[in-house]
């Protein structure tokens, strides 16, 4: 590993909000008047890329697909310490679902290759599907691991990592190159520094269009998206519920009683 590792981090710019609003008619997200930020899950991906670089050497390239204004999100990753940033931007890319997105990202990853590890955030706060990472791996023809919460080590063309599942922690070893989707407990993302931000102002954000990657127009954007949004709605938050107060012992007793009443135990 004397030359270090080539890492590519995929990010998306999303509206900075906890409650995403959308147009009920078209099902499109309302982005007007809301600031755009790096998808919070992708910040963990960027941080993990930087930590890999600090530990093993190499480079961290960042890739995003989006409108020209997504450049500001990429510039921010340069401020954080990433080496190069690429924006896949083309009218032909617009309206893509996760499949068309991952097809496009796959072509871009191959264009900016070589790569040992592609890191994605687990999901986006606006789309919330978690599909782009696994689909990207499919397009690239490399393995993929989701829910990664720790990289144990990278050596001899293999990566050892753990992932957090509902029923426990799984330790895996996989060959490189690989695509991983990281969860929020993998690290604590750093803040950009003043000097980093100053340097990033001048950085070049390279643009990639559909022509640059010889994309099949039929597989891009809205035309290349098999997904059809039938209905979109905000789930009603659960209401009611009992609030009980007391000492830990009292609470434990109350919960036990409640579970018995509900015939759960």
């Amino acid at each position: 590993m004397s030359e270090g590792l080539n890492v590519i981090v995929c990010i998306k710019q999303v509206p900075e909000t906890t409650e995403v609003e959308f147009d009920e008619e078209t099902g499109r997200l309302k982005r007007e008047g809301v600031d755009a930020v790096i998808n919070p899950f992708d910040e963990y991906a960027v941080e993990e890329g930087l930590q890999i670089k600090e530990k093993y050497g190499g480079t961290v390239k960042v890739l995003s697909m989006g409108p020209p204004q997504a450049e500001s999100a990429l510039r921010e990753t340069i401020a954080l310490g990433c080496d190069e940033a690429y924006l896949a931007t083309d009218r032909a890319f617009a309206g893509a679902d996760t499949w068309a997105t991952s097809y496009t990202l796959g072509l871009c990853v191959e264009k900016i290759a070589p790569y040992d590890i592609v890191i994605c955030g687990l999901k986006t706060t606006d789309g919330d599907t978690g599909q782009v990472g696994p689909e990207l791996a499919q397009h690239l023809g490399v393995p993929h691991v989701c829910y990664v919460n720790k990289i144990l080590g990278i050596a001899d063309g293999k990566i050892r990592l753990t992932r957090l599942l509902d029923d426990g922690v799984e330790t895996l070893e996989a060959p490189l190159p690989i695509v991983i989707s990281v969860s929020k407990d993998i690290n604590q993302p750093r803040l950009a520094t003043l000097r980093g931000r100053m340097g990033a102002r001048k950085a070049e954000i390279k643009q990639i269009t559909s022509k640059d990657v010889d994309a099949d127009p039929a597989r891009l954007g809205l035309d290349g998206s098999p997904t059809r949004v039938v209905k979109i709605f905000t789930p009603t938050p659960l209401e009611g519920g009992d609030v009980v107060e007391g000492t830990p012992e009292e609470l434990a007793e109350r919960i036990f009683q409640k579970l018995q009443e509900c015939k759960v135990i």
Partner: protein, 466 residues
């Protein structure tokens, strides 16, 4: 000790008639709960806790207390730090928590009308929904507005916006006799006669019970950013503050934290802040209506920090990242309290004397063997010296604490400062008042107190002795 009447069964019955059975309590839990605030003062349980729901009820309770000579201690959410809401002479704890409605947010006049039990955090949430801001932002967000008004609380935005007094334009208050008076209103200017409004603000509940307040709001700037800057010395940090001001940038907050505070925050939050290897830190918060406006302030702030010797600084631009940094500052009082027995001095000194005060406080701490963490609103000169017991035994701690508090107050006064910047004197600091003001002033204050409260029934034993 003044002669006071007792809370008899008969009186209790009358109180129940006024506010309803449910809102009069003598339960040991309630008496215990209403015996303290968040200061280190020993508990002073009331004889009865009365929770009125309206101005009329407050007035009726006061009328009764006045005729029976029962001491009444107004209480908000009891988060004060100087014992101001301790019922020192027992009597009635007048709990205003039920009067917690935001009555109006007037977007044309930019004013909010609130009851005294409204929590600062709730007013902030409601005004922010409308793109408006009530700038006073004391660290204790669960504090009530009645309490904020009574102590003239400040908070982190003091540097740019001022303190509670600058935002209270109208008050309705109940006098000890039970009479209701209204002062000011939704008006920006007011030159009509003496300002009793300003007299009541900061009077720590000793002159009248605030039952309604009209508060000025400002448009909330759309964008903010926060910078966390490590420095090699307190002096470098302080010089940076002066230089930022000199370059005509007015951050909305400018906070100082020593390394001990950063370490304590990390321990309490169980996570790292961006840096913990420097002796001094500044948190600098800027705001503007456009991203460009914020970026240009950030640029100037950045230049100054680097010129003043900072190696680099960390920039939080999204709301979530700023919140994470702010948490490191705002948790400090709770963090110190979680690990040590603590007390505090909240002196305010002229901004340029902050390093003199901090260095002097550190010397005093060293000499007495206590931990003193000087956490400050560096932008306005208000330094919270958190004094923590550390390894001292109980007896030594008590002695040392008195000495340290006295020395810190003398130090602040010698630098042209004041005993309390925003917490008030209450019970804990009242004995230091003669060190700051002439006897003639205290005598005038006594006269004012007597004019409002001839029988000394409202929050007796606070601020100064009669």
């Amino acid at each position: 000790m003044p002669e006071y009447g007792q809370v008899t069964q008969e009186l209790r019955g009358k109180l129940e008639e006024i506010v309803g059975d449910k809102h009069v309590s003598e339960s040991p839990e309630d008496l215990e709960k209403h015996a303290i605030d968040e200061s280190l003062e020993p508990p002073h349980p009331p004889e009865v806790v009365v929770s009125p729901g309206s101005t009329e009820e407050v007035s009726a309770v006061m009328r009764l207390a006045y005729s029976e000579r029962i001491p009444v201690t107004p209480q908000g959410s009891r988060t004060g730090l100087s014992g101001g809401s301790h019922p020192v002479f027992g009597g009635i704890a007048l709990n205003l928590e039920r009067m917690n409605s935001i009555l109006e947010i007037d977007e044309e006049n930019l004013m909010a009308v609130v009851e005294p039990g409204v929590l600062i955090v709730d007013l902030h949430a409601e005004t922010e929904k409308l793109g408006l801001l009530y700038p006073p932002d004391p660290g204790q967000e669960s504090g009530s507005l009645g309490g904020n008004i009574s102590t003239n609380a400040g908070g982190v935005r003091g540097m740019k916006y001022g303190v509670t007094r600058d935002f209270v334009h109208g008050l309705e208050a109940v006098l000890p006799s039970g009479e209701v008076i209204t002062m000011g209103g939704k008006i920006v200017k007011n030159s009509t006669a003496y300002s009793l409004l300003d007299l009541i603000i900061g009077s720590e509940g000793t002159l009248a019970v605030v039952t309604k307040a009209t508060l000025r709001l400002v448009p909330k700037p759309r964008h903010t950013a926060l910078v966390f800057v490590p420095f090699d010395s307190t002096r470098d940090a302080a010089n940076t503050v002066s230089e930022i001001v000199r370059r005509k940038v007015v951050p909305y907050a400018l906070e100082y934290m020593p390394r001990h505070a950063v370490e304590t925050a990390q321990r309490y939050l169980e996570r790292k802040l961006p840096d913990d290897s420097h002796p001094a830190y500044l948190l600098i918060a800027v705001e503007g209506n456009t991203v460009d406006e914020v970026e240009s302030q950030l640029e100037t702030v950045g230049e100054v920090c680097l010129e003043m010797g900072a190696e680099d600084a960390y920039v939080a631009d999204t709301a979530a990242k700023q919140e994470q940094l702010w948490e490191g500052r705002k948790c400090l009082f709770d963090a110190y309290k979680a690990f040590w027995e603590i007390d505090e001095v909240d002196a305010c000194v002229p901004r340029k004397h902050i390093p003199d005060y901090i260095e002097g406080a550190e010397v005093a701490a060293e000499r007495h063997g206590v931990i003193v963490s000087n956490v400050g609103h560096a932008g306005d000169g208000n330094v919270h010296s958190i004094i923590a017991r550390g390894e001292l035994d109980e007896e030594t701690w008590r002695e040392v604490l008195d000495a340290v508090i006295g020395e810190l107050i003398d130090l602040a006064l010698s630098l042209g400062g004041t005993i309390s910047g925003e917490h008030g004197l209450g019970l804990a600091k009242k004995r230091y008042l003669p060190r700051q003001v002439e006897e003639a002033q205290i005598e005038l204050m006594r006269g004012i107190k007597r004019a409002f409260d001839p029988h000394n029934i409202l929050n007796p034993g606070k601020v100064f002795d009669l």
